[in-house]
């Protein structure tokens, strides 16, 4: 039993357990003490037996999956497809949320002054607007400046050069404290009542709509996530149910000779977890594939708007969350299936 002894593996000894045990044993030689320590020794040896069994069972259930590669792959694919849709939706909403933040940044009111207002008056009105409580900052755009910006953004130099006088009014761009629609509308009413102000424009209704749409989308994603999560549970549960059925005799025998429910359950739980993990990895692959497939047209579309936009991708955190969720779902599906069936299996 000395750790230095050559790890001679007994012929026919469980090969699944043998692999890692020999290295582990070198780190922790089995304590051979008696007396006061025996309680502790028994506990630690039980703990090691437990760990050994988990290792053995996890590999054994992994090899069982490999033994039926097509069936396993189909199950994992079903899981992957069930995961891809909510994950894709989640990604889309996530990028919409980023967009939303940018919109908040650019949420402004534009106060158009009457054309009769001269620059000195305009500066006074600007001060008055800045003094409002609900206003964060303001930017005064004189009529000339407005013309220049207009020309730049439209590229209509020649056409506008032909005009006799500048038809544009001076304007003040106002960034409000709050981007809530109600408070902005209230602010716009206040600003519109100032003398010299022609019109206040709040172009926020569509931002609000987009926000509602995003909220709706999040709810849909959550519902879909729950629904498809249930789908994963059912897929794994059904697969495990068949596995339990096919190993029914073995289960009966081990229960006859004193196996606990936990012992019987363990290999199936690992199978479920492997299915879930495999499905999660496949769904990551599918997401990547979809991203690749859509990236070209999306880039072209964005370019046609003069913007650059790339499809959102799962980062490390997102991938880890997806894999953990799928593994957990697989485990849970297996647990439900086995627990439901164990009660129906009674040793004869």
């Amino acid at each position: 039993m000395k750790p230095s002894a050559t790890p001679r593996r007994a012929k026919g000894a469980a090969p699944k357990a043998g692999r890692k045990v020999s290295t582990q044993r070198q780190e922790a030689p089995p304590p051979k003490r008696r007396g006061a320590n025996s309680q502790q020794t028994r506990f630690s040896s039980r703990l090691r037996a437990w760990g050994r069994h988990h290792r053995a069972v996890s590999w054994d259930s992994f090899y069982r999956l490999l033994r039926h590669p097509v069936g396993s792959l189909l199950t994992m694919l079903a899981i992957a497809i069930a995961l891809v849709l909510p994950a894709a939706l989640w990604l889309t909403l996530d990028s919409a949320r980023l967009l939303d933040a940018e919109l908040d940044e650019s949420a402004t009111l534009t106060v158009y002054l009457e054309t009769t207002v001269d620059p000195a008056q305009a500066a006074r009105i600007d001060e008055a607007v800045s003094a409002e409580q609900a206003v964060l900052e303001t930017r005064l755009i004189s009529a000339e400046q407005g013309m220049v910006e207009f020309q730049e953004s439209l590229g209509l130099d020649d056409a506008l050069a032909g005009l006799d006088a500048n038809p544009l009014p001076a304007s003040i761009v106002v960034r409000p404290q709050s981007v809530e629609l109600a408070s902005m509308e209230q602010l716009s009413v206040t600003l519109a009542s100032l003398t010299g102000v022609d019109e206040v424009r709040v172009d926020l209704a569509w931002v609000e709509r987009l926000r509602h749409l995003a909220a709706l989308g999040r709810r849909v994603a959550l519902a879909l996530g729950l629904l498809f999560g249930l789908g994963v549970l059912l897929v794994v549960g059904n697969t495990i149910r068949l596995a339990v059925e096919s190993r029914r005799r073995e289960i009966e025998v081990v229960m006859l000779i004193g196996a606990t429910h936990a012992f019987v359950r363990r290999p199936f739980l690992y199978s479920g977890a492997w299915y879930g993990l495999g499905g999660g990895i496949l769904s990551l692959g599918l997401l990547g594939l979809g991203n690749h497939w859509l990236s070209l047209p999306v880039a072209a579309l964005a370019a046609s708007y003069g913007a650059s936009f790339s499809l959102p991708q799962l980062d490390i955190t997102g991938s880890t969350i997806l894999l953990s969720c799928s593994t957990l779902l697989g485990w849970l599906g297996a647990w439900l299936a086995v627990t439901r069936h164990l009660s129906s299996i009674r040793p004869r």
């Binding site: 039993m1 007994a10 012929k11 026919g12 000894a13 469980a14 357990a17 043998g18 045990v21 089995p30 040896s45 039980r46 090691r48 037996a49 437990w50 050994r52 069994h53 005799r249 073995e250 009966e252 025998v253 081990v254 229960m255 006859l256 000779i257 004193g258 196996a259 606990t260 429910h261 012992f263 009674r346 040793p347």
Partner: protein
């Protein structure tokens, strides 16, 4: 070791499989249980294994009323009993070695210790050279001996056997019974259900005779 106190067992409320059973089996005893098929031999063994609970009375094994065991304690109770089945209940997808090591795997015995004990058990039943074989490659008598090795690998204090020689010819049956006598000689309490009257009469051990679920004779009791 085993005490039945006014034990009765009904199935489905009507069929009375066992009734008014009262007997004791001392530690280290070897007992045959006999009777025609349907007399309740298997039911009696199932009660001891706590696959079922008695409808009436108490079954006491090693000082415990086993009906009182909580469901979670039952596996640990069964580990103390070695059982040999008529159809030996071997797993056909694993080798002889792994079939025998099953009870030790369940208990999480360290692999080296487990291998040592499996070999000792296989040696005892004379099948050490077949440890890598699959059960299908073995003859009926050999399969039964593997079943016995699995039952004793854990060194149980109580060994139960349900028709262990049911499908075997007389010579093989005698060999199997001799094995059980060996285990009894080292202190194991042995209880064997068998209808092979000629064989068990020759062996001169205590015989409990059942008829229609009742104990009709207790021969050779100490």
């Amino acid at each position: 070791m085993i005490a039945f106190e006014h034990v009765g067992k009904r199935y489905g409320g009507r069929f009375e499989a066992l009734a008014h059973l009262d007997f004791r089996v001392a530690r280290g005893e070897m007992v045959f249980l006999t009777g025609h098929s349907g007399a309740g031999k298997s039911s009696l063994l199932r009660l001891i294994m706590r696959l079922e609970k008695p409808s009436r009375g108490r079954v006491i094994v090693a000082g415990h009323d086993i009906a009182q065991l909580h469901a979670s304690q039952v596996p640990f109770y069964r580990r103390q009993i070695g059982v040999v089945f008529q159809d030996h209940q071997l797993l056909f997808d694993r080798s002889v070695f792994h079939n025998v090591s099953l009870p030790l795997d369940i208990q999480g015995i360290e692999p080296r210790e487990s291998a040592r004990r499996v070999r000792a058990a296989l040696d005892k039943v004379g099948l050490l050279h077949r440890e890598k074989a699959l059960p299908v490659e073995l003859s009926g008598g050999e399969q039964q001996r593997v079943g016995i090795a699995r039952a004793v690998v854990n060194k149980p204090a109580l060994l139960l056997a349900d028709e262990p020689t049911g499908n075997l010819d007389p010579q093989l049956s005698a060999d199997i019974m001799a094995l059980f006598e060996d285990f009894n000689r080292i202190g194991t309490t042995v209880m064997i259900a068998s209808h092979d009257l000629a064989l068990i009469a020759r062996l001169r051990h205590r015989i409990l005779r059942l008829r229609d679920g009742r104990l009709v004779a207790d021969e050779g009791a100490v």
